[in-house]
């Protein structure tokens, strides 16, 4: 059963997601970050849908269960689109946008096909353990993609502070969520006490960090990535 803390997290998450969109539009970043803002809007509407399912079908209903995990998978695939646009921005001066778009289409089609094949094969026993495993894998693909993107940012000496902060916040989100799903897979007993709080909190991190970036970091702000690398002598 959900408590007041869950409802508070939901409400804050919804408001912050809408706030990110409003802030980005206000800062005239709509066109440049359209996929990101589309993702934020979708996430906000998914939250509304979750609330609807909870009110009408209950927390332990299969409808809530399927809605939660399927929308989670769809949102993760949408997030891949966001990462691809970050790749396009990082590589925009190299003129390889066609290759990136082709790779993105292949990646999205591959992920969708793989997910469909796995779901189709397991449709008779679509257990919570299975969906946890599927989401863990999807999020881990996100971690790998973001890590590669960070490598490209360092290699190409990207200096746009806004882009750097958006990518780093995304990296924290993906890796924390993938880690949580993996921990759930390893220790299912931890779920009711500890791990159930992590995805909503991490889900709150992303709009908060992105909102902060849009609100505080102007598009023309620059930062040398070499300053961020951890050096110990």
């Amino acid at each position: 059963m959900l408590g007041p803390f869950d409802y508070a997290l939901w409400s804050i998450g919804f408001l912050v997601e809408i706030g990110v969109v409003v802030c980005a539009v206000h800062r005239k970043a709509l066109r440049r970050y359209l996929p990101l803002l589309f993702y934020m809007l979708c996430d906000a509407f998914v939250t509304l849908g979750l609330y609807y399912c909870l009110r009408n079908f209950g927390f332990n209903s299969p409808t809530y269960f399927y809605y939660y995990y399927y929308t989670e998978s769809v949102l993760t695939i949408l997030m891949f689109w966001v990462i691809i646009t970050f790749y396009l921005q990082v590589f925009e001066e190299m003129g390889v946008s066609r290759q990136i778009q082709a790779a993105a289409v292949l990646l999205l089609a591959g992920t969708a096909l793989f997910s469909y094949a796995v779901v189709h094969q397991n449709r008779s026993h679509l257990t919570s353990r299975f969906v946890v495993e599927l989401n863990q894998n999807l999020y881990f693909v996100g971690v790998v993609l973001t890590y590669l993107l960070w490598g490209a940012i360092l290699k190409l000496r990207e200096t746009r502070t806004r882009l750097i902060q958006l990518v780093l916040a995304l990296g924290v989100y993906f890796s924390a969520t993938a880690g949580t799903y993996a921990l759930r897979n390893l220790f299912p007993g931890l779920q009711p006490f500890v791990l159930r709080w992590v995805p909503p909190l991490v889900g709150l991190w992303l709009p908060l960090a992105w909102g902060y970036t849009f609100a505080k970091v102007p598009e023309d702000a620059r930062l040398a990535t070499a300053r961020l690398a951890v050096k110990t002598r």
Partner: protein
């Protein structure tokens, strides 16, 4: 089971790395900002650098000022980073002194960030005060 364990270890390590980089990107944005004489006086900062252990004291002063809606998230993120550094420093001091020295430098950056946040809040309070006076007149 093996795959889940591998994903767990890699993800948590990556999460830590991304979080450290994110906080460093916030700290880097304040590094070039000069502290005003006003904040130096209020916080008792005599030298150019701010001490690594001054962070909590500066944060308490920040909390005494009226809140600004736009600096809460960064203060919280850097506060978490400072706490993390404190424990890493405690663990590493006897084991790897070079890491401990880096941690000390990072903690100084966090304290400098807190001083900049305090400076901004003081300016904000003064603006609020001036506005209230103007409204009354």
């Amino acid at each position: 089971m093996m795959i889940a364990a591998l994903i767990c270890v890699l993800s948590l390590a990556t999460c830590l790395q991304f979080f450290v980089l994110y906080c460093r990107s916030i700290l880097a944005s304040t590094r070039k900002i000069e502290l005003s004489s006003r904040v130096r006086e209020v916080a008792g900062i005599a030298s150019q650098t701010v001490g690594a252990d001054d962070f909590q004291r500066l944060l308490q002063l920040v909390r005494l000022c009226p809140e600004r809606a736009d600096d809460q998230a960064e203060i919280r993120a850097v506060g978490t980073y400072y706490g993390l550094l404190y424990f890493v420093g405690l663990l590493m001091r006897p084991l790897i002194p070079s890491v401990a020295a880096w941690v000390e430098q990072e903690r100084k950056s966090c304290s400098y960030f807190a001083a900049v946040a305090l400076d901004r809040r003081i300016s904000y309070s003064r603006d609020l005060f001036s506005q209230q006076i103007a409204d009354r007149l």
